[in-house]
């Protein structure tokens, strides 16, 4: 075995050992079904190992530089409220939950919605207090058989949030999950796990935001499972603005029932290596799913978005628009799968991915994959990757707008198409600001 192989195994071994240590602490509880499930996930992770670029789903995203590092996984942090100042999103109101190095921080968090409209619990508390609920939903949607990172999270996750919206309730205030990695002193790895259940004819807006403090390496391996029950509506935003030493690998798994409506935006502004999986199963009729995405890798950043829409039932609608701006040596991947199952007649599924590559060293890989097994459907997909529109640039300059500003204006308009989809005003404005800054760099 080569030394580098040994190194890769060190991180894996560390994770396996952490699980076993935890298991010993559990004593008698290790017989519980939940623990059995976690153990099976761990075995799955052990068997799969970290993916290499030979794996079809990881062809353009190499995790070598991630798994060669050592990380602290115990979640400790000396963070104080004052450290949070730089991380504030101005004017943000709602249920704001802080997680530091993967652990819920009630003292930093604030819940404002009435308890009869929404129940918000930390995942750690729910594990202890409501094992039946966890048993019923946990890992029932996100596949850990084939995805090593989901398997790892399923085995090791110990915190995150559980959100339940009772039938018929509309949660007026958004729920904002702020995952902060405090990498000021050490390399930090965390495994956030969220479960969001939107009851029949209920409505909720949830945002996940990822930030890092400090410039040591960080690795968040996140899994969110979302169930949108009949006639329910969910808005879901995932917002990433992390350091140039941050690795993020995340899966959002959505399960929709009849007549439900799921509306998402995934915005990746900064981070060293980002992989987002967004999987939506439309397991009902007359569902609607919208997926918007924006990514802007520059420097040596890498952003990979994999989306999957699985039309399992007839008469549903999905629409996807992802946009990328790539600069310097930034790289991007878009892989968009649409499955239309034999039963899913009268499906409407649309997908579009548009990219602007601003530098000769930046690159984008796109792969739409449509697998359609029903005959009476309307599906379309299109990807474009091009340079900045020189004609438009000249037109603007001829009116007196300097080149850099014209470029910023054009690219901002391009990005705004996605940003305008975000209905939490302060988050949208914050993102608009970061995008402006990044474009002006």
């Amino acid at each position: 075995m080569t030394p580098s192989n040994q190194q890769y195994n060190q991180f894996k071994d560390q994770l396996l050992a952490a699980f076993r240590a935890n298991e010993e602490r559990l004593n008698g509880e290790s017989k519980a079904p939940l623990h059995q499930l976690r153990r099976s996930a761990l075995q799955q992770f052990e068997r799969l190992g970290f993916p290499t670029i030979k794996h079809e789903e990881w062809k353009y995203s190499n995790v070598n530089s991630l798994i060669r590092q050592a990380f602290d996984i115990d979640g400790a942090s000396s963070i104080s409220e004052a450290d949070m100042d730089d991380l504030q999103i101005p004017n943000l109101e709602g249920n704001i939950l802080y997680f530091v190095n993967g652990q819920y921080k009630p003292e930093l968090s604030r819940l404002v919605s009435p308890a009869d409209h929404v129940q918000i619990t930390s995942f750690a508390d729910a594990l202890k207090a409501e094992p039946e609920l966890i048993d019923k939903h946990f890992a029932r949607y996100a596949d850990y058989q084939d995805n090593a990172f989901t398997a790892l999270n399923t085995a090791l996750a110990n915190d995150g949030v559980v959100v339940r919206v009772p039938n018929g309730k509309t949660v007026e205030q958004p729920i904002i999950l702020r995952f902060i990695t405090d990498a000021r002193e050490k390399n930090i790895a965390s495994q956030p796990r969220n479960l969001i259940i939107v009851g029949r004819n209920a409505e909720v807006t949830v945002a996940e935001s990822y930030r890092t403090l400090g410039d040591r390496s960080s690795f968040s391996n996140a899994v969110t499972e979302i169930v949108v029950e009949q006639d329910a509506r969910a808005q879901y935003y995932k917002v990433q603005n992390e350091s140039d030493a941050a690795y993020h690998i995340g899966t959002t798994q959505v399960y929709q029932a009849d007549n439900s409506h799921f509306y998402s935006a995934t915005v990746t502004l900064n981070g060293n290596f980002v992989r987002n999986n967004l999987n939506i199963v439309l397991n009902g009729q007359h569902c609607e799913a919208f997926m918007y995405g924006l990514y802007m890798p520059n420097g040596r950043q890498h952003v990979d978005n994999h989306t999957l829409v699985d039309h399992a039932m007839p008469n549903s609608y999905s629409n996807e628009l992802y946009k990328g701006i790539l600069d310097d040596s930034g790289t991007g991947v878009f892989n968009g799968k649409i499955f239309v199952r034999p039963d899913a007649q009268k499906t409407n599924a649309y997908q579009s991915c548009k990219n602007v590559v601003l530098s000769p060293n930046a690159s984008m890989n796109t792969k739409p994959q449509l697998e359609i097994f029903a005959d009476d459907v309307k599906c379309s997909h299109g990807t474009t990757t091009g340079k900045l529109d020189e004609e438009a640039l000249f037109y603007m300059r001829s009116r007196g707008i300097p080149k850099d500003e014209a470029k910023t204006l054009l690219m901002y308009a391009f990005a705004e198409d996605v940003l305008s989809q975000i209905k939490i005003g302060p988050i949208r404005e914050y993102l608009e600001g970061v995008v402006q800054q990044k474009l002006a760099m």
Partner: protein, 251 residues
């Protein structure tokens, strides 16, 4: 104001402008006519600073300054405006926002304070009346989905807003209905003043009924082969370009 001498420009191996000489003084209106592909738009683009063309020979002085040495945005700030033959569609940027940015950049370049929202709106209302353009058009994405005529009208509106010293109108009349043509011409005429000059590129004499030129030039195969008073346009309308071709080939 503008002094072009022996201007030669090519794209790739292809020479398009083959030695243009043209003198334009403040207060004058010059019409440039000529068959398709003769280089009219190329000349207009070179003056506005399009970088696709290589200038192989010649000089262009604008108010004594070397124009060819300036970036397009600096030319705009110096007072040059090109109304495009084919205005570009810019998704996501409204005309209003675009023009406000442009106007304030030009003002900044000239050491003037930017206009605030109220001042800008007032100016816009005034100029909108001038070219009879609708507010709803201006809040839409710039030129996106505009009809041909709306695009041209928007060019003239922008010109009215930016009040250039030298306006170059590249076939601003094509695609316009008669009413629009008159409005566009009025817009241009209102800007006419002893300090300003205009170059009107057109195929049709009818525009010159409204915008009466001081000089008419015929561009043919990259050269100005004939210049004359406004009556030259009438002659061209009547006789076509064959006699010009014959004259030019003979020379």
């Amino acid at each position: 104001m503008l002094s072009i001498s022996n201007l030669q420009a090519s794209i790739g191996d292809k020479q398009i402008l083959k030695g243009i000489n043209l003198q334009i003084n403040a207060g004058e209106v010059h019409a440039i006519m000529g068959p398709n592909g003769s280089g009219k738009s190329t000349l207009a683009s070179v003056l506005a600073g399009r970088e696709d063309y290589e200038i192989t020979e010649g000089t262009v002085l604008f108010e004594g300054e070397d124009l060819l040495d300036m970036a397009p945005e600096d030319r705009a700030a110096a007072g040059i405006f090109l109304a495009f033959q084919y205005p570009v569609e810019i998704p996501g940027v409204s005309t209003t926002n675009f023009l406000k940015t442009a106007l304030n950049e030009i003002r900044k370049h000239r050491g003037q304070d930017p206009l605030d929202a109220v001042q800008f709106l007032k100016l816009m209302k005034e100029k909108m009346k001038l070219v009879n353009i609708d507010q709803s058009l201006l809040s839409r994405s710039l030129n996106e989905g505009f009809s041909g005529g709306e695009k041209k009208r928007n060019e003239v509106f922008q010109m009215a807003m930016l009040e250039p010293k030298l306006a170059i109108l590249d076939e601003t009349d094509s695609g316009l209905d008669i009413d629009a043509l008159r409005i566009v011409a009025e817009g241009v005429n209102k800007l006419r003043s002893p300090e300003r000059a205009t170059i009107v590129v057109t195929h049709y004499q009818r525009l010159l009924d409204y915008i009466i030129p001081d000089f008419v030039h015929v561009l043919y195969k990259g050269r100005i082969v004939k210049s004359g008073p406004k009556e030259l346009a009438l002659e061209l309308e009547e006789k076509g370009y064959d006699w010009i071709r014959a004259e030019a080939e003979a020379a």
